[in-house]
Amino acid sequence: MKRLTVILFVLLMLVIPIGAMAKTTITWWINPWRITPPGFPADKAATEEDFPKWAAEEFMRLNPDVEIKYVVVGNTEYAQKMAAAIATGTQPDIFKGPVWDNRWVGAGLLEPIDDYLSQEDIEDFYELALESGYVDGKHYIWPWNLGTNGMGTSMLLYTPDFEKAGIDWKKIVEEGWTMEEFVEIAKKLTWDSDGDGKTDHYAISFGAQDTHNLMSFIYAFGAELIKEDETKVVFNSQEAIDGLKFLVDLVEVHGVVPKGVEAMGVYDVIGNFHSHRTSIGFGGPYEIGRITRYVLSGQLAEQFYPVIAPFPHVEGKKGASYASASGFVVFKQKDPVKKEKVMEFAKFLTNRENTALLESLLYLTARKSVNAQLFKSDEYLNDQTQTFARIMDETGMEFFGSQSFPWSEISKFFTSAMQGAFGLTKTPKEALDGFVTEANRALAYYY
């Protein structure tokens, strides 16, 4: 008996240190963010690995009992990877993608974060940022960034072209512009550079697959995608038809947009602006940051400094810009100890110091206190972010309904409608009627 007790004691002594040494492993998926972490060389462009690597190592240094395994998941592949992971029960513990899916809440896959949000956090995060993860009375997102990546948020003006055409761009930035003024200015920004009698420089370009900026124009005419109760798509109102007709006319009647909108996507539009084939681009401060990153990585030869301006508005109506925010979601945890650690990691990623790292990407953050300190030493960037914040405040709105609305189910029909309208196979009315019919049919199946 005595011998047995001794053996058990020795075994226990062996097991306890092993147990104490066991680390909590947290898997973290994040889409590519080329954030410059602290201590990174200033003359180099950060890669998508640098920030997650730094954050994981820093958290592990502060929490030696935790191991963070991060995976950078591409913007185009995350959906299928996540679908497969959820289907097989191998989803990460914490996730930040280009978007998140509200159906994860309905399926009970996510942890609400309300118990972990301090009063200070609630006051510091923008309401829009908190609302972006608010479903059925609970918050599910640790807010991180304020939508500065959306191509439908604001416009970028290449000022040398405006000056060459004798246009007062400062007035546009400060006072905005009506649709009529926009057309007149766009005409002045469209010209033949090489003198062969053919237009080769345009004011602006669009892509049928680039939804957000087209929506910003159409919303400015007073259109709305869905009914207030979100049961029906109503994007074939007279306002929507007028908005789409205006866009098609920019190509076909005014000739200020290069033809081929139906074949183009977001990167074609960005490429046109970067190569100065167009004078007006899209996006917020992040898109200014893209120019710098492209220069540093050799994708773009020359740095230039566009200014942020609002989308044009219809006389007497408010303009529209796409406002969004995103952050980290925590997947359901069985182990309460691990749940605490995952929440701690989420808090670490979204604390003031680490949220402020978004500055290197020229992103506005989801924290008011951090934004107040951004770009203090850079007059140009400070001006742009201030303009952007003003535009968001005055005209920012969510285009695609609440988090429960299944836009992803119907977006392909919208793209098809845009292709039909710009390809002239359909009138704007026919295109939008077709979209609404298909979208409502898909919604009926979805619900």
């Binding site: 959906a79 299928q80 679908a83 959820i86 289907a87 899916d101 159906r103 994860w104 309905g106 399926a107 896959l109 049928a208 697959q209 290069p258 033809k259 081929g260 909108v261 139906e262 074949a263 183009m264 996507g265 074609d268 046109n272 084939r277 992803s408 189910e409 392909k412 793209t415 098809s416 292709q419 039909g420 710009f422 390809g423 196979t425 199946y445």
Partner: protein, 303 residues
Amino acid sequence: MKQIPTKSLKKKNVLKEIWKNRSGYFFVLPHFALFAVFFLVPVGWGMYLSMFRHNVFSQTFIWFDNYKRILSDWLFLKTLKNTFVYTFGVVPLWLGKALLVTVLIYPFRKSIRTFFKAAFYLPHVTSSVIISMIWLWVFNPNFGLLNYLMTLLGLDPVIWLGRSLTAMPSLIIMQVIMGGGSTIVLLSAAMASIPEYYFEAATLEGASSWAIFRKITVPLLKPTILYALVMGTIANFQTFSNIYIMTSGGPEFSTTTIAYLIYETAFENYNLGLASAMSMVMFVILVVLGVIQFKWLGSNVEY
């Protein structure tokens, strides 16, 4: 005398046979196990899933409702038509090109033949994503190479991938130009195995080149052509990456293929049940096409 039941006798014989050939089965086992795990089980699971209203969050058994839905859905029927147009646009041209190149390079000496085979094979070892990106630039409506050449010839630029009328032919042409490398290698090998005296005899008899091609070359290459035809049909029926990168199925769904729709349904809309039903329909179509091709072209060739 006690009679032994025939069934158990047969069973005994089968087991005996298996035991007798155990080393053969042993060597086949790893491949079969992998085949079962990565093909048979997923196919079976796909059939099972296709009878559910299934997304990654919930599932409801709905019998054949998914099949009813897709067979009455205009978009699915359109993608089916697109897939047939693409496949039967690409495969014959692809095969024709491979056959032509094979016959044209055959008379050259070995080093020249090898050079051409390598040159035509090169796109086969290049990522389809990279090829699609390059062709995306070729087809760019405003600044693309093709429209630049059109302008030099005094022609109006065309929005190749933006118009329903030109998008699918553009993709087909791209695939025909870039594809066929492996078929050229296969056909060259098959052609080299045709006894030379067949051609010599035909030439002595005064047969024209066209007659030799029609009456000797093509019939004797039939097994290889059949193989290339079946594999080409299967591969092109499942085309995805070029559609995904170059057109995203547009304009107006004119280049949406079944594989692309399955991807969208499964991985963008999370509707795995519906996507599985579509996959099963594609599977059945491919089996039927394969059977027809074997019936039509299958024959024994002896040299």
